[in-house]
Symmetry: C2
Subunit: 164 residues, 2 copies
């Protein structure tokens, strides 16, 4: 057996090399923006890096505070504009049920991710299951509903927060 961490997403593997998560996310973001002619400015880079500091989503005002602590003193619109840019570039997701933002684990590929949110540790794991998105698409088709965006947010207790 591979143990309980066998095939889990990084977010739910306690000992994972998170510095590498951040580094990969930042490198990929830079590449994608360059390819798209989108400007990943210092501010936007800083916001994205803060969002990636953990696998728990971060609120806009938490980001504001972190930027303030760094010496910048941005006002809310500045942060929201950076977040809007990152959302447009699909570098982050907004978690509607938490009013907070989290890094996208696979910004290069078009996808409608699903998020598993641990109520105890706050960790959010993104998965992309065709079985889920396909079932939603099929149900919408039955109703002749033209889907633009799927929000799937599953709240519960992650493997690290339940007794074995």
């Amino acid at each position: 057996m591979a143990g309980k961490e066998g095939n889990l997403p990084a977010a739910m593997r306690l000992g994972h090399d998170h510095a590498r998560c951040i580094e990969e996310a930042m490198t990929l973001a830079a590449e994608l923006c360059a390819r798209r002619g989108a400007r990943l400015t210092e501010l936007r880079r800083a916001v994205l890096e803060f969002v990636w500091q953990s696998h728990a989503p971060l609120g806009a005002y938490a980001i504001l505070d972190m930027l303030s602590a760094e010496g910048r003193k941005p006002m809310p619109p500045t942060v929201y504009r950076a977040l809007d840019f990152l959302l447009q570039q699909k570098l982050i997701h907004r978690i509607a049920s938490l009013n907070a933002y989290i890094g996208c684990i696979d910004p290069g590929r078009p996808h409608s991710g699903q998020h598993l949110i641990c109520r105890l540790c706050g960790t959010v794991a993104e998965v992309d299951e065709e079985a889920i998105s396909g079932a939603i698409a099929a149900s919408a088709r039955d109703l002749q509903f033209s889907v633009e965006h799927q929000t799937v947010e599953v709240t519960g207790i992650c493997v690290n927060c339940v007794p074995d």
Copy 2:
């Protein structure tokens, strides 16, 4: 062929008898609360009825305004408490992506509903597809994630808002 309104949920059938939607919802709510020993007070009843005025979700402050127009002059906590009660009794759902509230179409049966939200007319149709909730449950099981709540909100264009 039954036409485009063949098997659609009431929310998406333009000519449906909405007075009956309201009446059935209110009757069922009264029955369920009685059965559970929960107090469906006048205020809570009024809030539920406002939520059911249409198949588009209603914000807390819109409800506040409607109560004010009726002569009551409640403050926000009063409305939020009524909404909390209705949420606990599963008589309404909160649509996280809209910060708004909508009547539950089947409060008697335990279920995790999915919501299709039309970006144009605001109508929200609730469906309960085992294929969707099952796929989510299966994915969570893979990750040893214990699910407490599923939020599925699908944004797009409903059948009444697209050209034929």
